[in-house]
Every structure is written in C-alpha cells, then in structure tokens.
C-alpha cells in the first residue's frame, strides 16, 4: 500500500509541483493550504509524513506542529519543515517540533532524500 504524504503550503504552485513529483515517486498525496485545513486532513487521512510550510495564514507552521505533537494519535508522524527564511532555521525547526527542514528554494531531490530517510 502506498504511503500518504500531506503537503501543507499556502503557495499553490509549490503544492502543484510537489504533488506531481511525489505521485511520480509513488506516494499518495493530500494537500492543505494552511495549518487549520491540515489538522483536519491529518485526522481524516492519517498521513505517514507531513511536509509543512512555516509561514501560512490562519494556522501557521509553529501552531500546527505543536498541535500535531500534542495529540498522542498524531505525534509520531514525521514532519519536514519548508521555509524561505534562512534565519535561525534550526531554532524554527525545534519550535515547530519538526524532524527535518529544507530551505526554499529547495532542490526537490533533497526533499525526496529526507522523506526516504524518515519513512524508509
């Protein structure tokens, strides 16, 4: 059974591209435009991994990460943080309780590599 990845980003173009690449790589993909939508999808789809943008409207990356990890049912889902700001990224990753991060503009191969590392 293919693994499911939830991609959360308010940038529609990035969602479109990541969805395309991830499907090519054989993943199921669900998408959300902000943290609020994403939290609903987590419950519904129980993804195996989440790719999370840091800055988003409504519910941002930090709040999403905290809520995800606060729930016993979802706290073990690995998260890869996407961010366009290179300042103190490691601190931001910890704040979002994410497992890894990728800087925008990322090389998609780096994203794939990190996915395989987290859900081999």
């Amino acid at each position: 059974m293919p693994k499911t990845i939830l991609v959360v980003d308010d940038e529609k173009d990035i969602l479109t591209e990541l969805q395309f690449i991830l499907r090519k790589k054989g993943f199921e993909v669900v998408m959300a435009a902000n943290g609020k939508e994403a939290l609903e999808l987590v419950k519904k789809n129980k993804p195996d991994l989440i790719i999370l943008d840091l800055f988003m409207p409504v519910v941002g990356g930090v709040q999403f990460g905290k809520e995800l990890k606060a729930d016993a049912e979802t706290k073990n889902i690995p998260v890869i943080l996407l961010t366009a700001s290179a300042d103190n990224v490691e601190e931001k990753r910890i704040e979002c309780m994410a497992d890894a991060y990728v800087l925008k503009p990322f090389d998609y191969k780096e994203v794939i590599e990190k996915i395989y590392k987290l859900i081999a």
């Binding site: 940038e11 990035i14 591209e17 395309f20 690449i21 366009a84 700001s85 925008k104 990322f106 998609y108």
Partner: protein
C-alpha cells in the same frame, strides 16, 4: 598732631614726624596727590573721603581710605583733621570674590548646555548665557523670575514638582521633559537637578539642561530606518525565495524527465534557466548574509572546532564544481593544528567563497588550500594559478558590491559580496584577510587568532 596708630602704620615715631610734611616722607607724586585733597578741604570746607594707594617702607602696597575734615580754631587757624583706614585686607577679599565670580561665570558660560540656579522660591539666581539663549530672554529678564513668569501653569507644575523633590529629598533628579521656548519651538530636554546648600543654610537647585531634540529626532529616524531595513530583509528573503522555489522545482523536474522526454535544444535552454536560477539564489543569499553580518544581527557560534576538518568539508562541497571545470583542488593541511574556537559554518563560508572565486577565475590549473600555524595564529591560504587581479582594483576588492577585475578583463558572474562577507567574518573573529597577486596567480591569505585550544 599724630596718634600712635599713625606712628605704627608709617613706622616712624610721632615726634620725628611732627612739623614735617608729606613731601619729607613720600614720593613727589604721592605727596602732590595728598596735598591736592588737603587743598580741596581747605577751599571748600567740606569733608573729603578718598581711596588711595600707599606703599610702605617695606614696599607693600596698601589701599587706604582717608577721611579729611576742616577744623578752625578760635584764632581762625585752619587745620585738616584726617583719619586713615587701611582697607588692604578688605580689598583683597573683594578682589578674590570678584575673581571667583568671574571664574565661575567663565566656566558656566563655556559649557554648551544651559545651566541655572534657583532659590527655595524657584527664583532664578544665576543663569549662564546658553540658558538665556534657550529661554530667548536676556539674563536681567530672568534673574529673580520663576518658571511661572514664562511658562503655562501645567509646564511650570512639572518643573516645580521636580524642584520640590530635590529640595525635599536632597537627591539628584534627572528628568526628560518637553519644553516650548519663546519662539514656540518645542524641545525635548533632559534636566539634571541637584541640591546646593550655602553657608547660611539656604537651599538652592543647581540645574543643567541638555537639549536632546536633534538627538531624539535622529534616533527615531534611525529606528525607523532599521525597521524598514529589517522589513526589507524579510520581504527579500521570503518573497524572492518563494517564487524561486517553484521556478527551480518546475525546471528541475522537466530537466530530470519527470514530465516526459524533451529534446536537446529544450534541455540546453532549460540548463541556462537552471544556471541562472542558481545564480539568483546565490545573489539573494549573499545580500541577506551580508546585511545580517553587517548589521551585527548574526550571533557567531564561537566554539572549539577543527579548521582542517572545515577545509576538508569545503573540499567535498567544491569537488563537483572543480571536476566540471577539469581543475585540480589540493589540500595542504598542517595536521598539528589543534582544535580552537571559531564559528564552523562561517568559516566554511569563507573557504567556500575563496575557493569558489578561484574556480571562477581559473581556466586550467590548480587551486590549493593551505593551513599552517605560527605561534598563536592560524595562517590559511587559497592559492590559484589563474591570471592576476588588476592592481588598481586590488584595494577595493573586499568592499561590498565591488568586483576585482582580472587582467584578462573577463566578465564574471559574481555578486560582488563574497569577499566583503569573508572580510566581515574574519574581522569578527579578530583575524586579518588580504590578497597578493602576480602573473602566476593570486593568493588570498587570512589569519585567525588561535584561542581556547
């Protein structure tokens, strides 16, 4: 007739002086002056009081007040009755007083800040010139007046509240306040007030004002500019990188054949696009990096690290680039250099920038990275074998947005920030960076103090 005090004062016994005149004892000028006053009394019959200078037999100058009156006896003989008071000491004190007053005035008027003294009833008793300029009135219109004569009640209340605080506590008070001058201009001032108690136990406030209106305006402007810069940085960072992420991903997935096959020409052009995306990314990163380092926003993680390991890490990063250009990258590392304190990531950046520059400028040849130790100093070199750098651009090479021109005048695709970033990083580590260039290539040197081994 002469009394004993007269004899004492002049040091001549009375019996010797009787029957003599001033001319027998004093200089011609002095005697002449005494006589003039005598004649004045004889003629007018009126009392004459005169302050005069007299030099005693020891050569000391005395200030004396001589009071002369006319006395006529029954026979109609006229005499001068004179009393002398030696006021030399009083005079001295008076001069000293004037001196210290002049001295005080000189000091308070040479200070660029307004100074005032107020008595217990808040009346100004002393002000300096700058205070008068500040108020817009001359001193004679200020002395004896109070804040109440010049300022609205609410403003006066603020000033007096602080005066009272100082009078009551005896403690110095420093307060920032607003103040509107005679021309209607509002100033921001800092007033420092201290208590002064004179010999009689009277209390005064001694105050000094600093006009910080311009400083305040400059500070606000600076603050505003810092905020604009910080906002600009975050906009550049986020708003430029985000679209670049989609562009990069899109181009790469086509180039990698994920969206189906493309022909050679399509691939060639997409490679150009890709190359320029990388260039734009580097430019954005360099601008942000330089801005952050330059503004002191970056916190350097100065901890124990191995410099040779950094060089090896850079070697690994740079190797694909070197191989693509068919160049040779060599490491000549002094393995006896122990770990010392520096920011690892920043030092990777320095080596990468230097090696990257060398790769850019070298068409064929070798790039060598050297580390060595000299006492408590690390010496590092990045040596290339390409054409040298033009002498006239050498001095500007480490300035931001300036690119050193190579002797072959070839156009380079740098940001002009790489070396400026290196310089900032090295300076923040208390090191030095410089370049030597010649026909056979250029060598970039830097040193770091070896601390915290």
């Amino acid at each position: 007739m002469l009394n004993d005090a007269h004899a004492q004062m002049f040091g001549i016994p009375s019996e010797k002086m009787l029957g003599k005149t001033d001319k027998d004892y004093f200089s011609k000028d002095q005697a002449q002056m005494f006589w003039e006053k005598d004649e004045l009394v004889f003629e007018s019959g009126q009392e004459n009081i005169n302050e005069e200078l007299w030099t005693d037999s020891n050569g000391f100058s005395h200030t004396i007040i001589t009071k002369k009156n006319l006395y006529s006896d029954k026979k109609g003989n006229q005499f001068i009755v004179g009393i002398i008071r030696d006021i030399t000491e009083n005079k001295k004190i008076e001069i000293q007083l004037k001196d210290s007053r002049d001295y005080l005035n000189k000091i308070i008027n040479s200070v660029a800040d307004p100074i005032f003294v107020k008595d217990r009833e808040h009346r100004w008793t002393l002000v300096n010139d700058v205070f008068c300029q500040f108020m817009g009135y001359p001193a004679e219109k200020i002395i004896g007046k109070t804040d109440g004569d010049y300022f609205p009640k609410d403003q006066t209340d603020v000033f007096w509240e602080k005066d009272e605080l100082v009078f009551k506590t005896g403690k110095e008070n420093i307060n920032e306040e607003k103040f509107t001058d005679a021309r209607g201009i509002t100033h921001t001032i800092i007033t420092k007030k201290a208590l002064y108690t004179d010999n009689e136990g009277k209390n005064f406030i001694v105050g000094i004002i600093r006009d910080i209106t311009d400083l305040k305006a400059a500070q606000e402007k600076l603050q505003e500019m810092m905020e604009v810069r910080s906002r600009f940085t975050s906009v550049v960072s986020h708003e430029l990188r985000t679209p670049l992420a989609s562009i990069r991903t899109g181009v790469n997935l086509i180039l990698d054949g994920l969206a189906g096959g493309i022909n050679k020409e399509q691939k060639d052009f997409l490679e150009i696009v890709k190359k320029n995306i990388e260039r734009l990314s580097r430019l954005i990163n360099d601008i942000l990096d330089f801005q952050k380092i330059d503004s002191g926003k970056i916190h350097f993680k100065i901890v124990k690290n191995n410099i040779n390991e950094v060089a090896r890490e850079v070697y690994k990063i740079m190797l694909p680039l070197v191989e693509r250009k068919k160049l040779t990258l060599k490491l000549e590392l002094d393995e006896n250099i122990s770990e010392f304190k520096f920011d690892r990531d920043r030092m990777i950046q320095v080596f990468s920038n230097l090696v990257n520059n060398a790769i850019d400028f070298t068409e064929n040849g070798t790039i060598t990275v050297v580390t060595s130790r000299e006492k408590d100093t690390l010496r590092a070199k990045v040596i290339d074998t390409c054409v040298g750098i033009k002498q006239e651009t050498l001095s500007r090479i480490f300035n931001p947005f300036e690119q050193g021109e190579r002797e072959d005048s070839g156009k380079r695709e740098g940001t002009g920030l790489g070396l400026a970033i290196c310089k900032e990083i090295i300076i923040r580590h208390n090191g030095k960076i410089w370049v030597e260039t010649g026909e056979k290539g250029s060598t970039f040197h830097f040193t770091l103090p070896i601390e915290g081994e």
